[in-house]
Structures are given as C-alpha cells and as structure tokens.
C-alpha cells in the first residue's frame, strides 16, 4: 500500500513535469495564438482584445500558474479556436481513440499470443525463420503505409470495408488491424524467445514427465512465466501505440484524439494541446503503475518496493 502511494505520488510529479514542458514548448512556438484566433484579416485592436480575453497578455509564468490552479480544480480551460470546454472535446474524442487503441492492442495481443505459442515449439525449423523474417518485415513497415495498402486493396479493390470515417465495427476493423499488426508481430517474437527459454527449464520437464499434455505445458505452465516481459512491454508500449494512433487516424479519417492534438499544435490552440498531452501522459503513467501491479498477480515472488 505504501508502495502504491509512493508510485502515485511520483506519477503526479511526472505529470506536473509534462505540463511544464508542454507549456514551455507551446509558448516558444513562433506565432501568436490571438492572431490565429482572430484570423489573418483582423486589425491590431481586435487581436489585442482577443489577447486580453484569452489572458495571453500576462507573462507566461503567471499564465502557467493560473493554468495549474484551474487544473487542480479539474478545469482544463476552453479551446481558443472553438471556445468549447477542453474537457468536453476530450471526452468526445477519447471514446473514438480508446476504441481504436483498445481494438488495436487486443489484435496485437491475440497475434502475439497466437504467434508466440504456435512458433515456440517449432524453434529452429524453417517455419521459425520464416516467421522471424515476416514479423521483422511487419515491424519495419510504416504504419501509415500499411494503412494505405489496406485502403487500396481491402477498401477500394475488393470493396470489403468502408474507406474511412468513424462509426460501427466495419469502420473500426481496418484501422485497428493496421494499428495492431506490427505490434502483434513484435509481441509474438518476444513471447517466442521467452517461451523457448522457459521450455528448457526443469519444471517444464517435470510437468512433461508427469504426463501433462504438450499443449497444456506450453499454453499454461510455460506461458505464465514467459509472459512477464511481455506485460512490461505492453505497458510501456502505450506511448508508442498513441504515436501509431496519430498516423492511423490521419490515414483513415478516424475522429480521435490523435488528429485533434495534431491540429491543435498546428493552430496553436494551447488549452487543447495541454489537455491532450496531459490526458495521454496520464494514461501512460497509470499504465506503468498498472504493469507493476499486474506483475505481482502473475508472479507472487516479486516483492514491490
């Protein structure tokens, strides 16, 4: 329990650190948010009024202080561009991104588990080498390019799935697969290597000697120990997954957070930038804490602290 509190406190420190860095960068961007809001034809007076309304005329450290105070009360501010509360915008976009990211991660884990479990007993054979090369190739392909290939073949030539946009599961299938497949290949590889190591250990031989079936030995006895490093990687991968989300959402016109954040950076919409960064940083940090806890469930020998 004390350990958990300590971890959460550190997580808070990390999050405050991210707000600091984001704020600094947002205000270093050459360009005037008030000018962007006012539009290119507005006169100097209008720009000045807007600047005052948005409190952009205050020194940056004071703006940062005010932001933190409001943040402490749970207020993320309003978008410069649309004047909508950032929290509302985030809520709307989060569900789209969360759906995509979870579906992608689920696909990655399924591919990873299946790939690892099937190939581990085949280590050293040509199947093993072929899947190694195949999975490296998948890992090496740019995700946005895979997305466009999928759009061209699955969506356009074969007309199996819609070409983009948000909506039902038919819209979700392609982006999720594109997002998850490379990561899945990596998980499969990682699990494969760990399983091969674990399968050579004494307790596996003991289990075999007791007459446990081959499938059960690999899928239950070995998997439990071999999946530990996988859990770490999955937890740490969330940030990488969010990168993939930005590109995947762009290719498939998926109305999620990634696009929102990207557009916000280009429009100097500081409150939205802060909101999206803070949200994704929170997710990443929490997932790291979760990884530590899951460790304990999988392997009770691990003492936290």
């Amino acid at each position: 329990m004390r350990y958990l509190i300590g971890r959460l406190l550190w997580a808070l420190v990390v999050l405050v650190g991210t707000t600091w860095v984001t704020f600094a960068i947002a205000f270093l961007v050459p360009g005037d948010p008030a000018r962007v809001v006012a539009g290119p034809r507005a006169d100097a007076e209008t720009v000045a009024t807007i600047r005052h309304e948005l409190a952009l005329d205050l020194p940056v450290p004071i703006q940062y202080g005010r932001y933190l105070t409001r943040l402490a009360r749970g207020d993320l501010g309003r978008s410069y561009a649309t004047r909508q509360p950032v929290a509302d915008i985030l809520r709307r976009r989060l569900s789209a991104t969360a759906t995509l990211a979870c579906a992608g991660l689920a696909i990655a884990i399924v591919i990873g588990l299946a790939g690892g479990l099937v190939t581990a007993p085949l280590a050293g054979t040509w199947v093993d080498r072929a899947t190694l090369i195949g999975s490296l190739a998948l890992l090496s392909a740019p995700v946005f390019w895979l997305g466009m290939l999928a759009l061209y073949y699955v969506g356009f030539r074969w007309r199996l799935l819609p070409l983009g946009g948000g909506g039902d599961i038919r819209h979700l299938a392609m982006p999720a697969l594109v997002l998850g497949i490379g990561t899945g290949a990596y998980y499969a590889r990682l699990l494969h290597v760990n399983l091969v190591t674990v399968l050579g250990l004494d307790y596996i031989r003991a289990a075999r000697a007791r007459g446990v079936s081959r499938v059960r030995v690999v899928a239950v006895h070995a998997l439990r120990n071999a999946s530990l490093p996988l859990v770490t990687v999955i937890g740490l991968d969330l940030a990488a997954l969010l990168n993939g989300v930005v590109l995947t959402e762009t290719v498939f016109h998926w109305p999620g957070l990634g696009r929102l954040a990207f557009d916000a950076v280009l429009n100097l919409d500081v409150p939205v930038i802060m909101g999206t960064v803070l949200l994704s940083a929170t997710l990443v940090v929490l997932s790291n804490v979760a990884v530590d806890l899951i460790y304990r469930v999988i392997d009770p020998r691990i003492r936290l602290g």
């Binding site: 420190v13 650190g17 590109l247």
Partner: protein, 258 residues
C-alpha cells in the same frame, strides 16, 4: 540489402534516369503507370518516381543516420551519467526521462518542429530529442552492472578521475550494447522521419523524401497506387535492413533492449 541501400543513396543521383524535380512525363496532368522509360511510373506533376526514390534514399538515410547519432549521443550521455553516479543524479535524470517517456513522441516532435521551423537540421535535432529516452534507459542498466566490475573498482581505488573511468573503462565495455541499440534506433529514426514527412512537417520541399512521396500519393491512391507503393517498399527495406543488423549483432534472435 543494407549495402545495396547505402549504394543507392551514394550513387543514386548518378543512376537516376531523370531530374527528380523536373516534369519529364509526356502527359503532365495525371500520373502514368510504370512503363519504360519510367520504370516506376510518374507522379501527378509528371516527375519520374524512380529518380525521386533514388534521390530520396540519400536524404532519408542521411536523416536516419544523423538523427540516430544525435539520439545515441543524448541517450548515452544521460544513461552513462545516471548509471555511473547513481544517487540523486540518477533519480533526477531518470525522472526527467520518465517525463519525456510520458509524451506521445510524435506529437512532441510536431510541436518541436513548429518551435524550430522545419529544415533538415531541425529534423535531425527533433528526432534526437524525442527518441533518446529508450537508449538512456538501456545504457543506464548496462552501466549499473559495469560499474561494480573489478576493473572499474580498481581504477577508482587507484584514484582515477570519474571522467577518465567513464571514458576508458565503462564506455568501451558498454560498446557492444551501444552498437546494437544504435542499429535499432536507426530503424526507429527512419520510421519517425517518414511519419513526420507523412504528416507534412518533415524535411521541407523540394527535397524528395520517401515519407512525403507517400503523403503526396494519398490523393491518388485509387487511380495511381504505384505512387504510394514504391516509396513504402523503400522505407520498409531500409528499416528492415537496420533491424536485421540489430538482431544479427544481438545474436540470439532476442529483441534487443527488451
């Protein structure tokens, strides 16, 4: 395969049959499918795709390698310092690393490019600034074990200065790890560069980059799929060859750094 790519990058401009920036196709208004003398087709502006790919190899690999050097320099410096000195230095540096890790790297890169204005140099620096965290972590853990080795302890007992011990004893012994991560991070930087170019904020035009060729092809992917197909294959091969190098060096098929 890697050699082939480097060769393409070096002599590509000589091999390129056409000027990559010139409209050479007989019909300019729309892309032409692959057919001699345009072996990979032409794009919507009538430029030869093969020539652009060959020129693009130069810039994409250059960005990948230099950004890797920046990444490795920052990551190694931070990892060495944190791992060797330990204590408060370690905690501070690793917390800073955690903060950086919590950012979605691509968005951070987008913001940094906006701060620094797009240019080739900006891309080198930005990719380095975004991707050093993993390197720092791996090198730190390597150094944590190295600093307890007898030769390091001996050097310290003999009164060696820290800087000298790091440079002469710790760094050379961490080198095998560093080389593997360097190969791996080159594949990462090439992908990141392609992603930035795809989002329209990479190395600015008219320099042809693979990522931007794919981005420019998005509007034509239905009528001219070859426009996006070939640059993607180029990125795939470049990244794959660096991944092969990394896995080959690591030796046991284990994902390096994991």
């Amino acid at each position: 395969m890697g050699t082939l790519l480097v060769a393409a990058a070096l002599v590509g401009p000589v091999l390129a049959p056409f000027d990559p920036a010139a409209a050479v196709a007989p019909q300019l208004a729309e892309p032409m499918p692959p057919a001699a003398p345009f072996y990979l087709g032409t794009d919507d502006l009538g430029r030869d795709v093969l020539s652009r790919l060959l020129y693009g190899a130069r810039i994409s690999l250059l960005v990948g390698v230099i950004a890797m050097i920046v990444t490795m320099a920052i990551g190694t410096a931070i990892g060495l310092t944190a791992g060797y000195f330990g204590g408060v230095t370690d905690v501070l540096l690793m917390r800073a690393t955690d903060v950086m890790l919590a950012f979605p790297g691509l968005l951070l890169a987008v913001a940094l490019v906006a701060v620094l204005r797009p240019s080739v140099w900006t891309i080198f620096v930005v990719i380095g600034l975004v991707s050093w965290t993993g390197v720092a972590r791996v090198i730190r853990s390597e150094v944590l074990s190295l600093r307890e080795r007898e030769y390091v302890l001996a050097a310290r007992a003999m009164g060696g200065r820290n800087g000298r011990i790091l440079w002469r004893h710790v760094l050379p012994n961490a080198l095998p790890t560093i080389v593997v991560i360097a190969a791996l991070s080159t594949s990462g930087t090439i992908l990141l560069d392609a992603g930035l170019s795809f989002l329209g904020i990479g190395v600015p035009p008219p320099t042809p980059t693979w990522g931007r060729m794919i981005q420019e092809a998005t509007s034509y992917y239905r009528v001219a799929p070859w426009l996006m197909l070939f640059p993607g294959v180029a990125v795939l091969f470049a990244v794959l060859s660096f991944n092969f190098i990394a896995y080959g060096l690591a030796g046991d098929g284990r994902a390096p750094g994991a």
